[in-house]
Symmetry: C2
Subunit: 431 residues, 2 copies
């Protein structure tokens, strides 16, 4: 096995096999591209300047002094591969170039705790899919009954919808409980106020590389070449707003107030050892969705909830990305079959990832069966939905033999809603 001269523990998220990309801001310096290795960050703009990335096709273009990964994403797979290979070479314990250059090492590495992480990508369009059969079945059962749980289109069409890009925020950003319209079950008319059913959704997201020209679909067997890398996603949702608004055009305000992502983008190539067969697809998909390779990946996913003023996290979900019925490649191919153009920096997310067991469900909606079966936390508190002050944490990793490809985490704490007076002005609110 390969090791780096930067020591990484066996359970580190960031061994030399991973090398995720992020936008880091060391104190007093401008944002730049870094890669995580053990507890450190390697500053790619510094080693590019030193000529160590020569020959990759990315060198000397200010790609790594950019404040987003978009310019790097636009370069495409051959360059991504060359840079990754070069980084694995440079960080190898056997390679002297960087290891023995004390001056450069002092400039190029920062402890992760000393840098600020920024949103890694300037996201153009964000598309959210609905690709877990277990999730779609659970939600369908709750909303339409067991017999109509899965819509007739679900096993033919990788269902998705356009999400809101502007409100995608970095892990650690607080999330304000949204206000909105809801309609209590037996009320005559809707009411206005803070959502009473704030939820998380455990998802994974991927970023698109060069993309395609408008009018030119990406075939399913070429789709993975467009995938730069992956992150953890929490697609915060307000279920009471959602159930009142979603007919007939789908979720809108229920999900536009915040979507949190993890800061490190794990290269799609790093997931290759964890590729496996996904669920059997029956009926067979149409030709444009038939993928030759296995399209699933074995990624462990965990969700934790930490109440305010409590240091202890309770694990509330443990599931796996390999439950996804539709693969990443199938979702990308489907998205573009009409000719829709994808651009560097577009984000796709999987939709909520739920497994077969109750403990594997990826949302409060499913875990508490729409509030009917509260969760018990370690401190004895109960939860039907997420409460003010709660912090939600998602973690994920692929377990290799003696190493991990980790995604780090995405976390967010819920702030209380604004008052009606805050937003309408006092005069209007009291009339």
């Amino acid at each position: 096995m390969k090791y780096s001269f930067i020591e990484t523990k066996q359970d580190s998220d960031f061994p030399i096999q991973n090398l995720p990309y992020g936008i880091v801001q060391p104190s007093d310096l401008s944002p730049r591209v870094g890669t995580a290795i053990g507890d450190y960050v390697l500053d790619l703009s510094i080693i590019d300047e030193a000529g160590l990335l020569n020959g990759t096709g990315a060198e000397g273009k200010n790609i790594f002094s950019a404040s987003s990964l978009n310019p790097f994403m636009a370069l495409g797979l051959p360059v991504w591969k060359a840079v990754r290979e070069k980084l694995q070479y440079l960080l190898d314990q056997e390679t002297a170039d960087l290891r023995d250059n004390e001056e450069l090492r002092a400039k190029a590495f920062y402890p992760q705790s000393k840098v600020r992480m920024l949103l890694p990508v300037q996201i153009g369009d964000y598309t959210d899919f609905y690709a877990s059969k277990e999730h779609a079945t659970n939600v369908g059962t709750m909303f339409r009954g067991k017999d109509n749980a899965l819509m007739p289109n679900w096993k033919h069409v990788p269902i998705g919808y356009h999400g809101r890009a502007s409100s995608i925020v970095l892990s650690g950003t607080d999330v304000r409980r949204p206000l909105g319209q809801t309609k209590p079950a037996h009320a005559e008319a809707p009411v206005f106020g803070p959502t009473a059913q704030l939820d998380f959704e455990l998802e994974m997201g991927w970023f698109i590389g060069p993309g395609n020209q408008l009018g030119q679909p990406i075939s399913v067997d070429q789709a993975e070449d467009q995938v730069f890398g992956m992150v953890l996603v929490n697609d915060w949702s307000a279920r009471d707003i959602q159930s009142w608004e979603y007919q007939p055009l789908g979720p809108f305000l229920a999900k536009n107030f915040a979507t949190s992502i993890s800061p490190w983008v794990v290269p799609f190539e790093a997931l290759e050892p964890f590729r496996q067969a996904g669920p059997v697809q029956d009926p067979e998909p149409l030709a444009y969705l038939k993928q030759k390779k296995n399209g699933a990946f074995n990624i462990n996913l965990e969700v934790y909830l930490k109440p305010e003023n409590d240091s202890e996290e309770t694990q509330i979900t443990k599931t796996n990305f390999n439950y996804m019925y539709w693969s990443v490649a199938q979702q990308v191919a489907h998205h573009t079959i009409t000719g829709c153009n994808l651009r560097p920096g577009d984000m796709h997310a999987s939709g909520t990832i739920s497994g077969l067991e109750r403990s594997e469900r990826g949302s409060m909606l499913e875990l508490t069966w729409r509030g009917a079966e509260p969760l018990e936390l370690k401190n004895g508190d109960k939860r039907t939905w997420i409460e003010d002050g709660d912090e939600l944490i998602i973690r994920g990793y692929c377990q290799g033999d003696g190493y991990r490809i980790g995604f780090g985490e995405v976390r967010g704490t819920v702030l209380p809603a604004l008052s009606e007076a805050d937003i309408l002005g006092v005069e209007k609110a009291i009339n």
Copy 2:
């Protein structure tokens, strides 16, 4: 009435009362911001350079040499007002500054026919609403029957959904008929192929100015201050793809292959003389949607269809923007009530605008009642849906006393679909 020293005919779309903004590219020059006046374009980067925009708050910042209107949009209402006022002063027949400066005039004006128009805005997020009661009722009647035509939420919630920003194209861009999955009414399984129900949607769009911080809603009475200006929109739709895919997350591929917009962005302020009361809203909207001012605008809208190899256009729709049940301000306020952040360059569209009469319907779906009542064109051809080679043209204007505030037009011609072999590779297609 005010007149310009640049002659404009009474039925010109672009008198001195209008002054829409666009991104123009004169031959051999870089893209820049221009305003339309009569048959000419005034190059704002040239007159800014000459100091004529001093004192507006936009001067000397390269705002007008940008390749999109976004930097201008980000400056906000006081600057938009100052620039507009200054332009109306400079173009007035009584003002000598520009009129009598022959050298500057020669540099600053181009015939419109000599410049290339570009997409005026770098669009971040695109949101499409569904704000015409007549359209929602027509569609609801066709899909769910007369008794369930309007969903219970419709008169309470300005229904909208996130659209696809990457495929928004400029007027004149050809539109390729999309491929996709459809499910014929009595078929066992879906089939793959070109849409057989290609449609247009007559809409209007508006662009957002500075926007708001995440977590801070925009109140309904301040919402119009965020609206930079408006364009004509054709939200191309594939109805057979839509009806198979849209449950439960709304339209996705059916509308992501192209949305066409007109090139000139008419300042929201230019519409002020055409403000009027909209339809009575009953039941009363919730407090956050109650607008003090009248929120409707009297804008005439027309749709024409021109078959291939035919020089004659047939008018197929004539309606008005004042049919909109939900106002622009209400839609903006609703969008942000959860705290969702809008950014400069975001585009909102109204949804299809239909009126009470059959001739006022804003889509083929409604005009032909889902294909049951074909339209007859001037050349005797019939249409149930849009055919390959057809050109669709939308025009719009406010009729003042002796002048027009025109939106110009948005046009697009339909190209035949790609073949399955084109997209899958020949090997796969014959297997």
